[in-house]
Amino acid sequence: MFNQARKIRDKYIRDEMWPSIFCTGCGIGNVLNYTLRAIDSIGLDIDRTVFCSGIGCSSRLPGYIEADGLHTTHGRAIAFATGVKVYKPELSVIVFTGDGDMAGIGGNHFIHAARRNVDMTVICINNFNYGMTGGQVSPTTPAEDLSTTTPYGNLEEPFDLCRLAIGAGAPFVARWTMGFPYETITAIESAIRTKGFGFVEILAPCPTGYGKANELRDAPANWDWYKENTITRIDLAQLSPDERSANRKIVIGTLWKEEKPEYIERWRQLVGRLQADSEPAKSS
């Protein structure tokens, strides 16, 4: 395990950026690890992979990878990524984003990208708050929870990002937590392999921001919280119908998988059709 970690580090990490900006107990570094392992396992050509991100803690990830990286404006990573991928389809495009970046300011780009189905992988690190700015409420903060901008409790209901992605048309949707490294790696691999918009949400702790306000001040407390408050899709299926409808836990696992036409494929067909139309008719 240690040797493999060192191999991954030596192969993919941009040394000049070390040490990272992440706080003790933060889960974002784990996601970097899981993603690099998925990339390594697939054998993705790092020279032909572009990592895009928006603004926030999770969006700092592309800087740590020795590869092309586009650290963009707040919420817009997916829109930038769309331009990269559609112009140069031979590149693999992976987006790192967070709950505030992707579901708050970037919510519209997210749902439209899922609908449009351009081939890319979006990894959303959901830590239930705006961490970079010091722990404000986000679109995924559970109702009643505390944050610096909801000091008396959050009055709003959170988004279920995976249901949002499924509703918007994403062909691959999975959600895991820090506590499931191998499942997460496999999910990222599947998202990369998906011909279309692959979405992976990863619940990751923010002990400094969300955790401090909600009695989850260290990593173990967060990991325990995930254990108590999540249920796998397979375990959920084992429950009786009544138990299932009473379930309030966050469902994790591969939540959606389908094959559907991908944007660039359709564009290629269109270009081919137009070229065929413009060729002079063969004389007999």
């Binding site: 572009v50 092309d68 650290h71 404006t73 817009r76 829109a79 990269v84 112009y87 590149l91 780009h109």
Partner: protein
């Protein structure tokens, strides 16, 4: 490595070299003749025809056109495509231009070549969507936050929509900066004869590729006032691009005053220092005049009419038309004003470029304005009246 335009194929798609065309369509033609190979946009009056024309033409050239979910996404996709190697652009009008300010700042900071066409309409806010205006001229210069420099061109005819859009693509690549084509609802929607360039008139200037190998290439290293080499994504150079203050390697250096100063001064100076080279003006002067007009865009047509009327009445008047508006051609305007007592600036706004002119002249001549808003262009007689009776105060 140099990019060649497949002229024969392009002209098969564009049709005859001589056409009677609309300004927006001419911008689209100019883009394609400028080597454009990606467009992303969002419908907005009076710029929609640019997107519609690109949607017809680009796929026939094997290139992609996307309608995004808003103007922010449109410019974002353009910038992404540009880093993947594209000569990309978007087209919009006032409300969309406001939304694009975020992306314009990002493109300035990351030195991303891109072109934005703003077919200006009357504001503020939704204003008069179908009516022309020149109300975004200062927003074009200062709309995005922070210190930056911009290149902006102002077509006064449908032919110039072709010519200046072509030029915009080359300047964007050469200076690695957003280049704005500031047209308006009148120029965008009027129809005039255009002549598309012949094959030997086509020249595509490209971003300077890396001269070093991966590993030795330092993506944002450049002498003060100069433009760094640019490796497109997917070419093995592992470029990290960020809107944060960055060092020569492109890595964040946000709490380093010296790095920030060096970076932002270079971004500004690479354009400001080249003002003379970027200056494009048209001067119509005669001996003995004491009054001059400084105009741009559609209002330059009104000004030219005013010059004809005034001279027919035996009055002397000079005229300078700004073809490039930013970096502002200060020296050309000062030279023009030399010996003149008064400068009149006609604009479809309540006074924007007149302030820049006044600043450039430093009191050498008094600056007056002829302002018109509401959706009609300026009748030449109004400028003649200002010539005789004086214009509005700046």
């Amino acid at each position: 490595m140099a990019r060649e335009l497949d002229y024969r194929r392009v002209m098969e798609v564009l049709g005859s070299r001589e056409q009677f065309a609309q300004g927006d369509v001419a911008c689209a033609y100019g883009a394609i003749l400028g080597g454009c190979d990606f467009f992303a946009g969002y419908p907005i009056t009076p710029a929609t025809e640019v997107a519609e024309t690109m949607a017809v033409l680009l796929p026939r050239l094997g290139c992609a056109v996307m309608q995004m979910e808003d103007e922010i996404a449109s410019l974002s996709a353009v910038i992404g495509a540009a880093w993947a190697g594209s000569r990309a652009f978007t087209a919009t009008s006032g409300p969309g231009f406001s939304l694009m300010q975020e992306g314009i700042g990002y493109a300035c900071m990351t030195e991303t070549p891109c072109v934005i066409i703003n077919v200006q309409r009357s504001g503020p806010s939704t204003g008069q969507p179908t009516e022309p205006a020149q109300g975004d001229m200062l927003q074009a210069r200062w709309g995005t936050h922070g210190d930056h420099e911009i290149i902006a061109l102002a077509p006064a005819s449908v032919q110039e929509c072709v010519d200046l859009t072509r030029l915009a693509f080359n300047l964007a690549e050469e200076y690695r900066n957003p280049v704005l084509v500031m047209t308006d609802g009148e120029v965008g929607h009027m129809r005039e004869k255009i002549v598309l360039p012949a094959e030997d008139e086509i020249e595509l200037v490209e971003r300077c590729p890396p001269t070093n190998k991966p590993g030795a290439y330092v993506p944002f290293r450049a002498a003060p006032g100069s433009v760094p080499e640019m490796a497109s994504f997917g070419t093995g150079f592992h470029t990290y691009v960020t809107g944060l203050t960055h060092d020569e390697r492109g890595l964040p250096a946000t709490d380093d005053a010296e790095q920030h100063t060096r970076l932002v001064r270079r971004l500004v100076d690479k354009i400001r220092d080249d003002t003379e080279r970027l200056t494009r003006v048209e001067v119509d002067s005669e001996e003995g005049a004491k009054v001059g007009i400084v105009s741009y865009g559609i209002s330059a047509r009104s000004a030219a009419g005013a010059v004809r009327i005034a001279r027919a009445e035996g009055r002397k008047i000079n005229h300078l038309r700004l073809i490039s508006v930013y970096p502002f051609p200060e020296r050309a305007v000062r030279d023009f004003a030399n010996g003149l007592d008064r400068i009149i600036v006609p604009e479809l706004n309540l006074g924007q470029i007149c302030h820049v002119v006044r600043e450039a002249l430093e009191g050498e001549a008094t600056v007056e304005r002829v302002s018109r808003i509401g959706g009609e262009i300026i009748p030449p007689e109004e400028i003649v009246k200002a010539l005789i009776e004086g214009g509005e105060q700046v």
